[in-house]
């Protein structure tokens, strides 16, 4: 029994380590395969990287997470840029967006690998500064993406202007409900930069431009689909005259859609979402949701790697790179411009 158990344990450990090395191979986007391609010699020589992968630049990206579709899309953009520029990247992030300490460990490990440059999406705008100072001292350029830090160490910040994007959501809301009535908002949290900016962007635009629209309630659902659903139902119950509902991220928006369906209020409430994902796309196509703001996550990943490569070569990089956002609804959801930024 005991012997059998130890053999089993050994087997498990072996399987896990095998998976681990596979995973690393997958993360190293250009891992070995690219140089073997023989039918494109001109391109490779023109880039001046004909030799062994040892000369390849290595750029780790420490993100806020990896589970959400949003971060997967950022990763795919980063991988695209890495393939084009022929550099190696890795992409990692903590499990939840509250694990500031875990993210710092990841940043530390990334720095220890002596990379050419580093991409970093700070969970906390202050906590990482000592580590970033180390990077600066070691001459490793830092490109901040998605969220900035309270420091001038990062060479560049690649981000969405969330204030402007949420402001646009407010414009669309006013247009759709006829410039007056009660509106409620569900945000993912009240502490993160994106949560604060999207809430303030929406609320401020309403106050400044549309005095007849009243924001009756703002609540926070943690981005949890189920909790946001129950939250949205309670809010609809408390405010029976609600005309519009804005969800500031994917989980919040889906919660609102679920609530509208469960309360059988389809057509009575104008729903505007944020980010994409299959559920939101389906809701927009079926008319349940009026439209949504999408950031350009693929663009964020792409621009980050591009800026990192440029910075490590000593080229000048703009201090702020706006990766842009789009409004999408039934009319333009199948257009190329929108298809390029939304994800299922």
């Amino acid at each position: 029994m005991r012997k059998g158990l130890s053999i089993l344990l050994l087997a498990v450990v072996m399987v896990i380590s095998a998976c681990g090395s596979n995973g690393n191979g997958g993360n190293n986007v250009n891992g070995g395969n690219e140089p073997a391609v023989t039918n494109k010699p001109t391109e490779e020589t023109s880039n001046g990287v004909t030799d062994a992968p040892a000369e390849k630049m290595y750029i780790p990206l420490v993100s806020k997470g990896f589970q959400h579709q949003f971060w997967q899309a950022v990763k795919s953009g980063a991988e695209k840029a890495a393939a084009e520029l022929n550099v190696d990247i890795t992409f990692e992030g903590p499990e939840t967006e509250s694990q500031v300490d875990k993210q710092l460990e990841m940043l530390q490990v990334a720095l220890d690998k002596k990379p050419s440059a580093i991409g970093f999406a700070a969970l906390d705008s202050q906590a990482s500064i000592p580590l970033l100072q180390k990077a600066k001292d070691a001459g490793i350029p830092v490109i901040a993406f998605d969220s900035g830090v309270d420091s001038d160490i990062p060479t560049s910040l690649v981000t969405t202007d969330n204030l402007a994007a949420a402001g646009m959501a407010a414009d669309k809301m006013s247009e759709l409900i006829g410039g007056e009535g009660e509106v409620a908002v569900i945000v993912h949290d009240q502490t993160s930069r994106t949560g604060i900016d999207r809430r303030d962007g929406f609320v401020n635009r309403m106050k400044e431009q549309y005095p007849n629209i009243k924001i009756v309630d703002i609540q926070y659902g943690g981005g949890d689909h189920l909790k946001s659903t129950d939250l949205a139902k309670a809010m609809m119950q408390a405010h029976p005259n609600l005309k519009g509902f804005f969800g500031a991220n994917e989980g919040s928006a889906i919660g609102i859609i679920n609530a509208v369906t469960e309360m059988k209020a389809e057509g009575k409430i104008t729903v505007i979402g944020y980010d994409s994902g299959k559920a939101q796309i389906d809701a927009i196509k079926s008319g349940l949701m009026a439209g949504a703001i999408s950031q350009n996550p693929v663009g964020i990943g792409y621009e980050t790697v591009k800026a990192a490569v440029a910075a490590s070569k000593g080229e000048t990089v703009a201090a702020k790179i706006d990766s842009g956002f789009v409004w999408f609804d039934k009319t333009n959801i199948d257009s190329e411009e929108v298809k390029a930024v939304i994800y299922e």
């Binding site: 129950d230 139902k233 119950q237 408390a238 469960e262 309360m263 994902g277 299959k278 559920a279």
Partner: protein, 331 residues
């Protein structure tokens, strides 16, 4: 003799927990009266149904947790195992295109197997429940992400799956009485759980192990095997919760689930089940879960700032357990 002894111990507890239930039930009614006066939007059919529906997932998790807590153990893995169950159901139905009932059985089995593994680790390897289920919590979380490829799995091809929780059998029979099926499942699970815990040999040994594990073992009961069985039962309930969750969201969301176990434990404790084991009822847990969701719903309807909602819920847990202690000292 053994059985009568255990039965005697139990009946004493039955009287005590009857009191506790009365207390808990009284607080529930008081809360409902309070919110009904505070806002006219609270005491309405649609909102009360909403409260029941929002209780279903956490409620079923809490029902399952009651079993292990009565043994004096704990199961920290129910939140993420629930997620793993919904992901497995998604794999069976949406990825492999198997019939819906196969997916449901698959989801339930996933839960039972996870519970069985936790039970095995606790009873056979002697790992403390806290640690064994903490490990299971992480294993299940990781597996849910690995199996789903970190992407949500949608059930859009099988509309009948959504009906499992959102359809209304009752509404079809009695027009206008649209109680969603998820609520029926919750109450059905509660009845089954209650029968299991108070009328079967599993329940009897469950209380015996929780009251005095050593004495139970010495009187010839195979404590290890019964523990494994009890953790598997908890896993089965977790599977039910996972399927309800997937059906309600019409998708399996691999990144949810963390933290749900604590809400389930809170509901069990508010319902008068003792964390030191040997004492507890299913009806208490049902009331505990209802208190939690009436409280969150009511505070939201009153538009209490969300930061304060959390503080209030924390105080209610403290108060509930303190009241329980007071009553026990008197008894």
């Amino acid at each position: 003799m053994r059985i009568t002894e255990i039965a005697g111990v139990k009946s004493k507890f039955a009287v005590q927990s009857g009191l506790q239930q009365l207390l808990a039930f009284g607080s529930l009614i008081l809360l409902i009266i309070f919110f009904s006066i505070a806002s006219s939007n609270f005491f309405q059919f649609s909102n009360l149904v909403g409260i029941l529906l929002s209780t279903a997932v956490i409620g079923v998790l809490a029902l399952g947790s009651t079993f292990v807590i009565v043994t004096g153990g704990i199961d920290l893995s129910v939140g993420t195992v629930m997620t793993l169950c919904s992901v497995m159901t998604g794999v069976f139905i949406a990825m492999w295109g198997l019939p819906v009932w196969v997916g449901i059985v698959g989801g339930l089995l996933t839960g039972a197997v996870c519970g069985f593994m936790s039970g095995l680790a606790i009873a056979r390897l002697g790992i403390p429940p806290f640690i064994a289920t903490l490990a299971m919590m992480m294993i299940a979380k990781g597996l849910a992400l690995v199996i789903s490829g970190t992407k949500p799995i949608y059930f859009t091809e099988t509309p009948v799956f959504m009906k499992l929780s959102q359809g209304s059998l009752l509404g079809d029979i009695i027009p206008g009485f649209d109680i969603p099926n998820a609520v029926l499942v919750f109450f059905l699970a509660a009845i089954i759980g209650s029968v299991l815990l108070s009328r079967t040999i599993v329940g009897r040994y469950n209380f015996a192990i929780g009251s005095n594990e050593e004495a139970t073992r010495l009187s010839g009961v195979n404590v290890r095997n019964w523990k494994i069985a009890i953790y598997s039962i908890t896993g089965l309930f977790t599977g039910v919760a996972g399927i309800l969750m997937a059906s309600r969201l019409n998708s399996a969301q691999p990144s949810l689930g963390m933290g749900y176990e604590l809400e389930a434990i809170a509901a069990v404790v508010i319902g008068g089940t003792s964390l030191s084991g040997g004492k507890g009822t299913i009806i208490g847990t049902v009331i505990g879960a209802l208190i939690m969701s009436v409280l969150t719903n009511g505070l939201r309807i009153l538009s209490v700032p969300p930061e304060w909602q959390t503080v209030v819920v924390g105080f209610v847990i403290l108060l509930a357990v303190y009241a329980d202690n007071l009553r026990r000292r008197k008894a």
